[in-house]
């Protein structure tokens, strides 16, 4: 854990292989703790985690709050509807208010890409000793989801030692609305860093060709790629071709509003072309598993029977793994900070 140098967690594009190893190793330790009885660790006692969710969320926020509580941190939540944002207060003003209350970690979600980065930069400039943890910003990034997906896959491939090495050479297929998915973007950085081959599959309106070059260079503002050799990324328009020999399939939620944006002709057609069914899963490798960040549109991205089958679906495992992964992130960001 000595190599960890991140003051904030904003984008997995900035993670080195060591960073992924650190998070997964720590998450595995937290995962091994008993879930019944005295479950709390005192690691973050006296620290305050504030969730600033400017976009509605139940699952992610609950997962973060539970993670913080299991590390004995204090937890505070911000709800825009009861805030003073409507009175013209800026995001930075809001953040600084909570920092003044003693927040050590701000877990931020916003519908606009770049907001957590801007907040982190502004708070750094202001000399505030607070960590910003991106819980999803626009279409840009969802680091904790990307990490919990990685952890879930690593545990599937190497249950005893779920490290990035477990992903090397594996073929992971991501199916669906990649364009509008911050989860897919985080998955791309995480999976390729670990040496996995990523196959993207979807219609051209939801998966532009340029995604084939997604990890070929770091994102704007980042000078260099911290990963020396990434796994390849390719695009397949045929789901059958994409699934052939796959080791895992990650499907993405399809928002109903895509219909109104003329990006699809019908949900039925989408399901026929890109929906995951048991027959299609049979095209994958023998131990392939299915992931989905949730919530699932049954009968659109996935057939219900596949989702409910614990022999192939890792969806509940993803939710379960979200807690130790978020514990790891909170611990890495807050445990080393001196108490104020």
């Amino acid at each position: 854990m000595s190599s960890w140098s991140h003051r904030h967690v904003l984008d997995l594009a900035a993670f080195s292989l060591d960073d992924f190893t650190t998070v997964l190793t720590l998450a595995q330790r937290f995962r091994a703790l008993p879930v019944a009885g005295a479950r709390k660790l005192p690691a973050l006692q006296g620290r305050l985690m504030t969730s600033l969710f400017f976009e509605p969320s139940t699952r992610t926020r609950s997962s973060f709050e539970l993670a913080a509580k299991r590390l004995s941190a204090d937890v505070q939540s911000f709800s825009p509807s009861s805030s003073s944002l409507s009175k013209g207060e800026s995001l930075l003003d809001t953040a600084r208010t909570y920092v003044a209350m003693g927040a050590n970690v701000l877990v931020v979600r916003h519908r606009c890409a770049g907001v957590p980065q801007s907040l982190a930069a502004d708070l750094d400039r202001a000399g505030e000793r607070v960590a910003v943890l991106n819980a999803g910003d626009g279409l840009h990034s969802h680091p904790s989801q990307g990490l919990l997906d990685l952890f879930t896959l690593a545990r599937h491939f190497a249950p005893e030692a779920p490290t990035p090495a477990a992903l090397r050479g594996k073929r992971i297929v991501i199916v669906g609305d990649v364009l509008h998915s911050r989860v897919a973007r985080s998955n791309l950085w995480a999976l390729t860093a670990c040496g996995a081959e990523v196959v993207l599959c979807g219609p051209p309106t939801l998966l532009p060709d340029a995604f084939a070059d997604f990890v070929a260079a770091p994102p704007p503002g980042q000078a260099a790629d911290p990963v020396v050799a990434r796994g390849p990324v390719r695009i397949e328009r045929s789901l059958e071709a994409a699934l052939a020999g796959a080791d895992a399939v990650m499907t993405l939620r399809l928002q109903q509003e895509r219909m109104h944006q003329h990006l699809l002709s019908s949900l039925d057609t989408y399901h026929r072309q890109f929906g995951i069914t048991r027959a299609r899963l049979a095209l994958c490798g023998p131990f392939a598993r299915l992931l989905h960040p949730g919530p699932v549109n049954r009968g659109v991205e996935l057939a219900g029977d596949v989702l409910d089958d614990p022999a192939v679906s890792l969806v509940e495992e993803q939710v379960r793994n979200g807690i130790p992964v978020r514990m790891a992130l909170l611990y890495l960001l807050a445990a080393a900070e001196p108490l104020t």
């Binding site: 890409a113 770049g114 626009g138 364009l179 532009p208 995604f211 997604f214 704007p220 503002g221």
Partner: protein, 426 residues
């Protein structure tokens, strides 16, 4: 009596078609350019003046901004008439033409009464449609009679039926009609051009078709209504430049200065300047625009100053109005940054830069090109090597959306005849 300023061996650019030369120049402290050449040298010696070593400085005509925005000339929180005049003058801009995008919209003669004191020149575009709503034509002839430099549309192309009828009526005579080749419907709410950098940054994408499809219509219309002087506002894509190159009848076109400097591959995610209309382009778009300007397919660089106040600037990017400020820095920003990009980095000649920043703007507005003449105050003195730090305190504009703040800049407008001598930094 205050003695004149003797610039010794300054780089001198007097006007279009004239080569860059090295000569002495004499400038009155009241701002008038008295003499240049051998005569200036002789007069200076006769007066016993001390020379100012100006070998690395450039003396040239003022710059021309063919379109910018000032919504509230009186009492504006983002900018007002006085602050814009001061900011433009400091940057060497002697002419600024304001779009009708204002509150209230400048779409009728009684709203076209703004002026600046000489030697600054404030020009006003009239509006093509009433209130810029693209429903009805504004009174074209009346606006022209009231002094409008031409007619401008709103931020996107008006309905073709409205545009075609207005051009057929031709009440604007030979005055220019400025149209934005943009279809907001095709932008789908995106604000960065499609490309892998925008995908990585997670910005909503704006396809280049939102520019090229309306541009094709406009080019056809320009050919069909060739008696009218159509102008294209803020071309922003390489594909748009290609279309323009192929057009049998090519309207004059502008490009905004920021599109020549920033793209989705070179801008830090937290920097000012992502939210533009038309959208910020890809690195390939920027190269296409630079090539188009160099080949004079694009005629002029517009500042397209669109100031936001501090409150608006607090909003997240997707909720903020699009646009950046360009007038503002005490030593100018557009000229120093474009000098570095075009002259220093890409080897452009000074004449070509002035074609883009001054003479091309005049041509787009239907004005004669700026040139130096005896007694003129419409000159600027530029030092390309002067380093300075661009801080908020250096701004003469009230705009909060100033790009490159906090960064160091090389190159400064040291003096202009547009400002009193006590504003000069010599």
């Amino acid at each position: 009596m205050t003695l004149p300023l003797w610039l010794h061996q300054v780089q001198l650019l007097t006007g279009p078609g004239q080569p860059l030369t090295s000569a002495d120049a004499l400038i009155d402290r009241g701002g008038e350019l008295l003499l240049w050449g051998e005569e200036a040298s002789q007069r200076a010696q006769a007066l016993g003046l001390s020379p100012t070593d100006a070998r690395s400085w450039l003396l040239a005509p003022v710059l021309v901004d063919p379109h910018s925005v000032l919504e509230q000339p009186c009492g504006g929180r983002a900018e007002d008439l006085a602050s814009l005049a001061a900011a433009a003058a400091a940057g060497g801009y002697g002419t600024v033409a304001l779009l009708p995008w204002a509150t209230p919209w400048r779409d009728r003669p009684e709203r076209l009464g703004l002026e600046w004191a000489e030697p600054m020149q404030l020009l006003l575009w009239g509006s093509f449609s009433l209130e810029g709503a693209d429903q009805e034509l504004a009174p074209h002839a009346d606006q022209i009679a009231a002094g409008a430099i031409g007619l401008a549309c709103a931020e996107q192309q008006p309905p073709l039926a409205l545009l075609e009828r207005g051009l057929l009526l031709a009440e604007m005579g030979s005055r220019p009609v400025l149209v934005a080749p943009r279809d907001a419907g095709l932008s789908c709410g995106g604000f960065v051009r499609e490309g892998v950098d925008a995908l990585r940054a997670g910005w909503p994408l704006d396809p280049e078709l939102s520019e090229t499809l309306p541009l094709q219509s406009l080019l056809s219309l320009a050919q069909a209504r060739s008696a009218v002087a159509m102008r294209l506002m803020n071309l922003s894509t390489a594909a748009g430049v290609d279309l323009l190159a192929q057009a049998p009848r090519r309207p004059l076109a502008s490009v905004s200065w920021w599109h020549l400097l920033a793209d989705s591959g070179n801008l830090h995610p937290t920097e000012e300047g992502w939210r533009l209309r038309p959208s910020l382009g890809t690195p390939a778009d920027r190269l296409g625009l630079l090539a188009g300007l160099e080949q004079r397919l694009l005629s002029a660089v517009a500042v397209h100053h669109l100031p936001l106040d501090a409150e608006e600037q607090l909003l997240p990017l997707d909720q903020r109005r699009a646009g950046v400020a360009g007038h503002g820095a005490r030593h100018g920003l557009v000229l120093p940054l474009l000098w570095q990009e075009l002259v220093e980095r890409r080897g452009w000649s000074v004449e070509l830069l002035w074609q883009a920043l001054s003479w091309g703007g005049s041509e787009l507005l239907g004005l004669p090109p700026e040139q130096l003449s005896q007694g003129t105050r419409r000159w600027l003195l530029f030092d390309p090597q002067h380093p300075w730090s661009w801080e908020r305190g250096e701004s003469l504009s009230m705009a909060a959306n100033q790009p490159r703040l906090g960064q160091s800049v090389c190159g400064a407008v040291r003096a202009t005849g547009l400002q009193p001598a006590d504003h000069w930094s010599l």
